[in-house]
Subunit: 352 residues, 4 copies
């Protein structure tokens, strides 16, 4: 394929960890060419000043964010900006004919009141937001294909929802018993200089944060409610783990039918995810290590039933920056462009 057939894409907010993953994945994507990297704080800097290891392969300079400029050069735009900014930019980009894949929270909610309550920002783009699709292809495959505007899920919701979806969709659990105890590497906090994310603080230690208050809670609940067919409240607790990458969500819920054994559930999960290339159901008694997913767009699911308590326990492992962020956005890109869903998305980790 000649370069002339490549689609020009831009990344706004390219200096963070999501950005650099996107750069990596898109550079090896056979159907796209990165033609624009944008960011206000690093505007004017060669990209390799930010990531020196890319000196030999990326020859782009970060540019100030200019909607006209972006739209004139890019067919697809990835937005990797802090929450509350994409909802100002995306309407203009869509208006000028771009397709938009947003990695912030701005287009993840169907109910903008929920968004406004948790993110403390009023919205004026209701007409646009209603057209956005939640970018979790395993659940919204067909809708994503038809959309111009994707709100890509957060990393915790991706791991949590892939674990819960078959259970909720098929009514196998009592929804209000669902507890998600999630553990994330510190790269999830982004490339920001914060004391608590220093190696000297975070290494050799472990703690919960945002207990009962984390903003991914309403995002998970909205999709769970959609799957269950009625409003669902879930318990979600994130923890910071002394490692760079990876999320493990350990999900607990009480089974409606205590007669179900783990083999039943493994069969059900395999059926549910039959056409999902990136979800891997582990065999009986095998539980995922986050490292297995590292560097890939995969989600590994391990399933256990405790007959003593009638609970199902699902362990869900992803790479928070790939399937939990940039890889998922590329998966959505593949869908909205009508390409093969797995294109340019790694499926094998460099273990160990």
């Amino acid at each position: 394929m000649g370069d002339t057939e490549r689609i020009p894409v831009g990344i706004v907010g390219a200096s963070g960890y999501g950005g650099v993953q996107l750069v990596r994945l898109l550079m090896e994507h056979p159907k796209v060419e990165i033609v624009y990297l944008g960011g206000d704080s690093s505007a004017g800097k060669p990209y390799t000043d930010i990531y020196p290891h890319l000196g030999h392969s990326v020859n782009l300079t970060v540019e100030a964010i200019d909607v006209d400029e972006i739209a004139s050069r890019c067919e697809v735009v990835f937005l990797g900006l802090p929450n509350g900014i994409a909802c100002d930019l995306a309407p203009q980009l869509l208006d000028k004919g771009c397709k938009v894949l947003d990695l912030s929270a701005d287009y993840r909610f169907r109910n903008l009141d929920t968004y406004s309550a948790w993110y403390k920002k009023d919205r004026t783009d209701q007409a646009i937001a209603v057209r956005a699709v939640y970018g979790l292809p395993e659940l919204y495959h067909e809708k994503i294909k038809e959309s111009q505007l994707i709100g890509c899920p957060g990393c915790y919701p991706t791991a949590s929802l892939l674990a819960l979806a078959p259970l909720l969709k098929q009514g196998l659990i009592v929804p209000e018993t669902a507890i998600i105890d999630a553990k994330s590497g510190t790269s999830g906090a982004g490339r920001q200089a914060k004391i608590n994310a220093l190696l000297a603080e975070a290494d050799g230690s472990l703690g919960a944060y945002g207990v009962g208050k984390h903003r991914h809670t309403p995002e998970i609940e909205e999709v769970c409610s959609d799957l269950a067919g009625h409003e669902v409240k879930i318990q979600f607790t994130p923890h910071l783990i002394p490692m760079v990458r990876g999320i493990l969500a350990t999900v607990y819920a009480t089974l409606r039918d205590p007669g179900l054994v783990r083999e039943d559930l493994i069969t059900i999960y395999n059926a549910f995810y039959r056409s999902s290339s990136f979800v891997k159901i582990l065999p009986t008694g095998v539980y995922p290590q986050t490292k297995w997913a590292c560097g890939t767009n995969l989600c590994y699911l391990g399933i256990e039933v405790d007959p003593r308590t009638d609970r199902v326990i699902v362990m869900s492992a992803i790479d928070n920056l790939i399937k939990g962020q940039a890889g998922q956005a590329v998966q959505c890109l593949n869908l909205i462009m009508g390409w093969e869903e797995t294109l340019a998305l790694p499926q094998l980790c460099f273990y160990p």
Copy 2:
């Protein structure tokens, strides 16, 4: 105080991580002198062959395990052996007048049928076992003082039970809703050469194990049942975390009275642990980092209530090798000897 006043103590099973913590703590204990280190696999080795950094301070050789020899030299014996061995040794040592602090599972159960079912070992020492006390001083302070035989708790049960005790004792939660999602550093697996505990495997990764099947489950349940006054089943899931030391137990349970707020519970916990020197209740909104407990005999408890779900979430952090193992044994020693409970037990970590 002259050395003549020091009590002679022995450590059987001194080459593991529990053993070396005991050595460290007891060397700085003003009322004891280590006179015997025992172990079959390393018998005959100078202790500093095993731990070269102790070359300047420990001048003992590991000896073969000989009950007569031990009893003739030691007033108190710590047993740090694999499960199923202490129950053969302890009766003989008690018979010869030693006090015994066992760090294995052998004397943690009041119900030996439970022990036999989970540990696959029949027991012939019922008469002795019935005299053993569960060595968690915050709950069994008075009984420990009177006992000659202590079954020191496992590391997970210590963190879990200190989190759950006030809730169960005062009937504040629906017991069967209790879920313990526990996370441990890899030193908990002991000083054994296993592939999955290699840095190359465990670092940068995270996973659950023993889901619904871990042997600390019945130990936790027996004490929970004692506290609640009726039989209780709990959900317990351990995870291996890429760090050396520390346990965080995140405990979830549904409140009986949804009107309780976290400040109420903090007050209740403070009252419950008023006379416990080693349990620290954190103020509103502060959640523990395992690192805070590192190297100390402390347990930090952070308490949160989620009014959306009527659940209490208690986070409990300890050093798995101190409060979860050797430190707790020394705390028990202090009690059975009638010394100050806090003697020689560190309360300040070397942060970071």
Copy 3:
């Protein structure tokens, strides 16, 4: 390209870290097909019992090592066995027409007396050994192309020699002043259960080993001597670092011409490695992080001159399991097969 055009290859010793990297790289290689995995200790096991994360993509069972069987099915064989075994197998495989890429020390030495002295093994395959080529393509590109038997370099020698080669080849340093202070992640010790490689031992710590005695010393010296044109002795000290992957070699040497500045040397290095796709010379003042090379076949070189001491300091970073092992073997495969050297070899890391 149809599958019929793929070359059948086998990996003997597939269960270690080198083996699993080879599996990963070769599965994504467009011109080969893995048709055989061999290993005596894991013979009969499905490969995914060893590496469960590969369950969805590798459908091979480890087979006992049988030369006839291997030769009948494979055109190229990778040997990833402990030192001293390949020199028994390789002659037979070559005799039956296979090409052999050996990852052990057996074919790295031109002088078998050196090998025998350091590896305590007498050799009877001199006639074969003399045909082997040292598999460092940046130095022996043309010879590798012509060979049927490659002795792939160790991880430390790869990092060290790429740092030293331009200096020695062009006579810029006093060879006997060369000191290599090397630091490696613990995966370099292989997938073997050893106490000192446990996370609980190795994490949060750092130490040297094999000081003045490491077996990679004579391997480095033989190539250095070849480059310098006379016998060279170097100082080599390896250290174990608390991380999984990566090697940094910090190389010190006294410049013959104290007038040289770092920009001169950067120019010289760029010229020396002009046609080497995998060696990246960093610009002035930039020093490599091992993480930049992680998951890639690259070697990053940072160059500094200290005018106060007239020394050059070269920092060389590689992924010990890719450029230091499996990737380099695939690079050699590409050369001996006449394919593009960079085929199937990653050049971008998943930072962070």
Copy 4:
């Protein structure tokens, strides 16, 4: 001893890692009482807002830095401030009768021109500076005892100088061949929010920095010159290691007398450090792990001779925050107060 006999001490700059170590060590010191914590950026904050784990034991509020106030309350003052500030404060404090232990670079140099050249700050306190003593008790024991003003060494110089001192003092090496390849945990960079010290950046990676330019170079050289009796230039390269604490300095030098074997040197080192409680010379063939020193005021030295190259290699391991910083300051305090040198200084690590 009653509290009335305790000496009142203050810590200026208590919020950093050096500060919190000092707080820890001094709280357990039987002869001092912390009566003042100072710091401008955190003035007015309870100390436990900065370090919540100390809530149960430290009941002090950080105060603005006021010389009169400090001098009126404190007999001894520790200064843990950024370089270039202590030289303004110390003269005033000395003038008001305080003893001063400075942890910055300000009083480490006998030659203030060297200080000014490397630290870019002119000095007006020459008269005072000349009275300061370099606070490395193993080398300047008697002078420290007599002084009111101590310039406590940096962490790298402590590890490096203890390794080099016997060699230089006794003329055993060619000084200009000395190369110090030092590796430090990231806590050495202090409690400052910097991108490169984030766990997400620093974990799983390794790199050199400040090559040929690190400010500890002239500090090491000044003491080396004092030991050698003539001016000495050394090569010093620091590296950042993915761990919290600890420094390993690997020191290389060419022996003047190639007949010396490692046992000779071990004997020489043992003699040199005979009266130094905190320096531990390891036996033949044992090399230090940084973890052995963790949490202690010890320095472990491992000594090797390579007869192939006539070099001595000394490996020196310390805890960068204890012997490399706060512990050493307390050791100096003990000396200037005429107390036992080892008072309140830990000598056993909590391994692992």
